[in-house]
Symmetry: C2
């Protein structure tokens, strides 16, 4: 389908935008070409849609199920006993709820790690959103589990042809404290051989880093560098506890890092994400929401504000991480990490974009629409969402919303009752 | 007008709520009494509305007009030169925009300090919201200015009869670095004589405290205690830089404090609000958004999440400031400080309440509606707002919204062009 968006505010100018198939084909003051669909966008501003660089989408089923608890108590009493009982169909509806929430707040891509890969992929297909999907890879340092995980991942990778180009496969070794060195090395080689990404939690807490040092004799990034694990194929999530050398290694090896400010604050990880030091080194920094268990939503607009303000507060400097930089973290930096020709409103880019309603009170008076989007608005300012040239939301309406809410609710309460 | 709300979820139970005039008259499982208006609230949860304990409402006109700047550069280049040109009608529309935004995110009371008291009061009347209004009292240590401010405040106080009971008068001495000791003493006495509140910025930055010590020889709360300034009539805003003795004095004198987490983070005030220490002392702690210049919105739901997470992060403790405590800060604690019999859904309380749409995706699946409201939702989950027994919003529609947006936009761009 070809789409012509008319009179959208792009920066300070009103522009028409022609989308041919899945690509932004032309941007000009007045486009007269015919299109299958015309969107009148006067009073709306166009922005690239958001790239959520770290999620566990299916965990929307756990939203509000355990808050204000110490991390281990939360995991041991509220998450793990229930996750053990979760079924493929639950994950399908949980992921659809997550996709719905993301679309309604302007996100068209998410980098996911969760159980039941096929359920996640099916939800992504059905919602017409983009995703880099990885299965949780945990072997608990057990050879049999490692063997089974490797077999499972090879199988999933072999089945990728069945999916559209909107879905890519990543490896998801959970973290060095749940995955053996042997499996990490396998992931390193499999990712290199097939040129795919690795999605892993690294250096989220001090305790985790200390335990790593005890086992491997070095800090995580130092050791991982020695075994050749660091590369532009690595998406390192959290990376809160880093020393100078580790930041150098991240930069030198082109590792992409993902900051999750809300999750870091809610779980009290104990240190600030070192934005200034990583930026100075030229590291590609992306933004993520993390799962609804530790956030509890998937609104990238909210996460932009949290990230920008947390840096200002932590560095005691109101000028650090200004609006445009955090907006880039949430858009083009994510697109770059995940190898998508998107994240900017330019001719030739993928048609992944949003229209923001300038009549949302938080966007008024409108001295600076980008500032308003980052610092004043929430997801509900997003009126229209287009991904890969498909309209996922128009006038804030997403197809099938009621059914998703109903079934996600049912799935969430069902798996809890299974425990009882 | 009498209102019957039917089938609203109150905690875990579906209840009917009868509002007679401006009061919650009855709460029961099935109320059959006739009413002028019946609201069918199945699928919605009822909560008290929010009490925003610190605003400069008219500053919505400055939203996005200067971000990511050092405090003094921001004030000197983006705020003061323009505020000097602002007119009464500008403040009227700016405050109406603020009221609109607050209503749309569930707030029915705000504690304001700004220029043109009559414009603020008129906006509050027209929007049918509640407010404690104070005029900015700054004398710059100049006797003539002090004299004029005192005259002006006496005059405003003398005119309060013209307003409804939804509006109360407070004194608004801006801060000890802009107001002379003589004027502070006058405020102390005038407030005591008339039993009214004092709304003042105190101990927001370290620099401000150091300057106070240089001038007065003691830290702010120590000195203010000595001159009898501390009392339950005092609403002390920010109170970030406090020592142990000052916290004792705040508690012993029944001073109410207002935490503004987003403003503190954005302006990088350099220290964490000492929630744990103040709570242990039994201090009544309220929540505010501050003005749109330093936030940049007036969404108390967002501020609840920021406050809760900032404490967890700062104390490195995920259990501190749990959902119910921050919700109380945003509701009943504010009502208490401002002497309103409100902030809870109970018979006999003022009918200041909201209905939250449980079909907002952020409220699904709905394991814990209070947690979802605090940690997952934004203002747009609020469907209906009632204040003083009047319906201010229903189905997210507020009367006169378009006109407010249009005129606030015009006012904002007009006063900027006046400068050019």
């Amino acid at each position: 389908m070809n789409i012509l968006i008319r009179h959208a505010l792009l920066g300070d100018e009103e522009k028409d935008i022609l989308i041919l198939e899945n690509t932004i084909s032309r941007i000009a003051s007045n486009i007269e070409e015919p299109a299958d669909k015309i969107i009148e966008a006067r009073g709306k501003a166009v922005f690239p849609s958001f790239f959520n660089a770290h999620t566990h989408a299916g965990m929307t089923l756990f939203r509000g199920f355990g808050d204000d608890l110490p991390l281990m108590e939360w995991l041991e009493t509220r998450i793990w006993p229930y996750e053990a009982l979760i079924k493929e169909e639950d994950v399908y509806w949980g992921t659809k709820l997550a996709c719905l929430e993301m679309i309604k707040s302007g996100t068209t891509f998410f980098n996911d790690m969760y159980w039941f890969f096929p359920a996640v992929a099916r939800a992504v297909e059905d919602m017409k959103i983009r995703s880099a999907v990885s299965a949780v890879f945990i072997d608990q340092f057990d050879d049999n589990q490692a063997h089974e995980q490797i077999r499972h991942n090879k199988e999933l990778f072999g089945q990728m042809e069945q999916y559209s180009s909107r879905i890519s496969f990543s490896l998801g070794p959970h973290a060095p404290y749940t995955v053996s060195l042997k499996s990490l090395k396998w992931a390193r080689d499999f990712a290199a051989d097939n040129d795919i990404l690795i999605h892993i939690h690294l250096s989220e807490t001090e305790d985790e880093v200390q335990r790593f040092v005890k086992v491997y004799g070095k800090r995580p990034f130092e050791y991982l560098h020695e075994i050749g694990f660091l590369s532009p194929r690595l998406i390192a999530v959290h990376t809160v506890w880093l020393n100078e050398l580790e930041m150098d290694l991240i930069a030198e090896n082109g590792v992409h890092v993902v900051h999750n400010p809300i999750s870091n604050m809610k779980l009290a990880v104990g240190s600030n994400f070192k934005y200034r030091e990583l930026k100075e080194r030229g590291v590609n920094i992306c933004l993520g929401t993390d799962g609804a268990g530790s956030n509890n939503n998937l609104d990238m607009i909210e996460s932009m504000k949290f990230a920008a303000l947390l840096q200002k507060f932590s560095y005691n400097d109101p000028t650090i991480l200004p609006a445009l930089e955090i907006f880039n973290m949430a858009t083009c930096n994510g697109a770059k990490a995940f190898r998508l020709n998107a994240g900017k409103i330019e001719e030739g880019k993928l048609a992944d974009l949003i229209l923001v309603d300038l009549n949302n009170p938080s966007m008024v008076p409108g001295h600076n629409h980008l500032s308003d989007l980052v610092y004043a608005a929430h997801g509900d300012c997003v009126d229209t969402v287009i991904c890969d040239g498909n309209i996922l939301m128009e006038d804030r309406k997403v197809e099938g919303e009621e059914e998703i809410l109903k079934n996600a609710r049912k799935a969430a309460f069902d798996f809890i009752s299974r425990k009882k």
